[in-house]
């Protein structure tokens, strides 16, 4: 007697035989350009596990690298901080050089636009200690033609006058110094009055009669009456006006940045210098040499 095969055994045999033949087919058949079918199937079956494995490996490596393998991070952090400090310093130096370049370009333009006016460009190399607005020292002196009582300006406006000139250096008394000042006049009304330093950043215009009308914001220029500055060099702007008797008390904001001078221009003569932009804005009369007529009843600009 032959035993009847169980249904499960025959089913398993069927599955095995079919699978064997399917694999055999896959080994023979090529699917387009993707190679043999068995390879396509193998890649399809394996690739999800490969992707999963790669993903898991990346995660493990990331966790290890970010949370455990940190022995070199402190040193690297210190190196990066040092490098960062160096870069900040470099940036600061470059910004300073760029600003210096801008200033020098401005001076050069000013110089080129006033070729007929004898002038010397100088660099501020120091300041004397002691007073609130100490004299500053320039890197140019007598060898460059600089003498006492020559005007010192910037493209923005009046700075001061030369009080001492040495062979290679010179000292400048700033307008803001208590001893400093210049003959000045209001652009709109042409009222003349000396502007003096106060030892503070702001200047003072002291001899404008109480009955005159002076408004904040008015421009003030040199009058040329001090025989130092040519006429119409900007001095500053009226900051505020206080009524006084017999004179108003007028505070003036300097046109030139007296607290941060780096390069200046020394005028070697009193020939007029035309500050076009300010003249155009204020509608001031064009510079006309030193033939200024002081307003009647007003103190003439004194020679500081």
């Amino acid at each position: 007697m032959v035993g009847v095969p169980s249904r499960h055994r025959s089913l398993a045999l069927l599955a095995g035989v079919l699978l064997a033949q399917v694999l055999m087919l896959a080994l023979q058949v090529k699917r387009d350009s993707r190679g043999r079918l068995i390879r396509v199937w193998s890649m399809t079956a394996v690739s999800p596990f490969e992707k999963g494995g790669a993903w898991g490996f990346d995660k493990v490596r990331g966790v290890w690298g970010h949370y455990f393998a940190l022995q070199g991070t402190t040193r690297q952090n210190e190196e990066l901080r040092a490098e960062n400090d160096e870069l900040k310093l470099t940036i600061s130096q470059l910004q300073s050089k760029a600003a210096e370049g801008d200033r020098l370009a401005l001076l050069l333009n000013f110089r080129q636009s006033h070729e007929k006016v004898p002038m010397v460009m100088a660099r501020v190399i120091g300041a004397s200690a002691g007073t609130a607005s100490p004299p500053v020292e320039l890197d140019r002196g007598e060898r460059d033609g600089i003498r006492r009582n020559m005007a010192v300006i910037t493209p923005d406006g009046a700075v001061g006058k030369i009080i001492e000139s040495y062979r290679d250096t010179a000292q400048v008394l700033l307008l803001s110094d208590k001893e400093g000042g210049a003959g000045a006049m209001l652009v709109s009304s042409r009222i003349q009055s000396p502007v003096k330093g106060t030892g503070e950043p702001m200047l003072s215009m002291s001899y404008v009669a109480a009955e005159e009308t002076v408004n904040a914001g008015e421009k003030i220029v040199t009058s040329g009456m001090d025989k130092i500055f040519p006429r119409d060099v900007p001095i500053g702007t009226v900051l505020d006006v206080k009524q006084g008797n017999p004179f108003k008390q007028i505070r003036v904001k300097p046109a030139a940045q007296l607290d941060r001078l780096e390069e200046v221009i020394v005028l070697l003569s009193q020939e007029p210098v035309n500050f076009k932009s300010d003249d155009d804005q204020q509608g001031a009369q064009p510079a006309a040499g030193n033939a200024a007529v002081p307003a009647a009843g007003k103190p003439v600009a004194e020679k500081p």
Partner: protein
């Protein structure tokens, strides 16, 4: 294998038939040879599938699923090998393995001696065989293959008629 035994299907008794030695192998080889020779001389006979008829007959008669599916496998693989390089190994093998298993499984449960039963089963198995081939060709071989057409119906009918006649002759090989 030479013993005769009976399967109990419900209340009826179904006999497992035995054949003369070499009859199964001889008929299998003969069917394969005729399948190659006949269409050469009579192209219209290409519609016949003699290896399939042999697989169905011996599956229904032996009524052992394992034996039936192995016989179908061997018949199919032989047919694949004789069909030229364009037919990969396994194409007919898979289809006839399925038929061998189904025929022997059904044969162990039903009385398949009646001509009408044989006609219906051969027609059905022919369709299943073609469906298996279509699945293999579409899914594994990436070949465009229709699921059903009139040629399939006519071929199923012709093979079913031939099967009824042929099976009567093959019954004489039983011991």
């Amino acid at each position: 294998m030479n013993d005769t035994f009976e399967l109990r299907g419900g209340e009826s008794h179904i006999e497992v038939h035995k054949f003369f030695p070499g009859a199964v192998v001889g008929m299998a080889v003969l069917s394969l040879v005729l399948q190659r020779i006949l269409p050469v001389y009579l192209p219209r006979l290409e519609i016949l599938d003699l290896p399939l008829l042999a697989t169905i007959y011996f599956g229904l008669s032996r009524r052992n699923p394992s034996t039936g599916l192995l016989l179908g496998t061997m018949m199919g693989l032989m047919q694949d090998s004789l069909s030229g390089p364009t037919v990969p190994f396994g194409e007919y093998g898979i289809a006839k393995t399925v038929i061998g298993y189904l025929a022997s499984s059904i044969g162990s449960r039903l009385d398949t001696e009646h001509p009408l039963a044989r006609f219906a089963l051969v027609g059905l198995f022919y369709v299943v065989h073609q469906a298996s081939l279509t699945v293999v060709r579409r899914l594994l071989l990436n070949q465009p293959e229709g699921w059903f057409n009139m040629h399939l119906a006519i071929a199923a009918l012709v093979n079913a008629v031939l099967g009824v006649v042929l099976f009567v002759g093959l019954d004489r090989l039983r011991r």
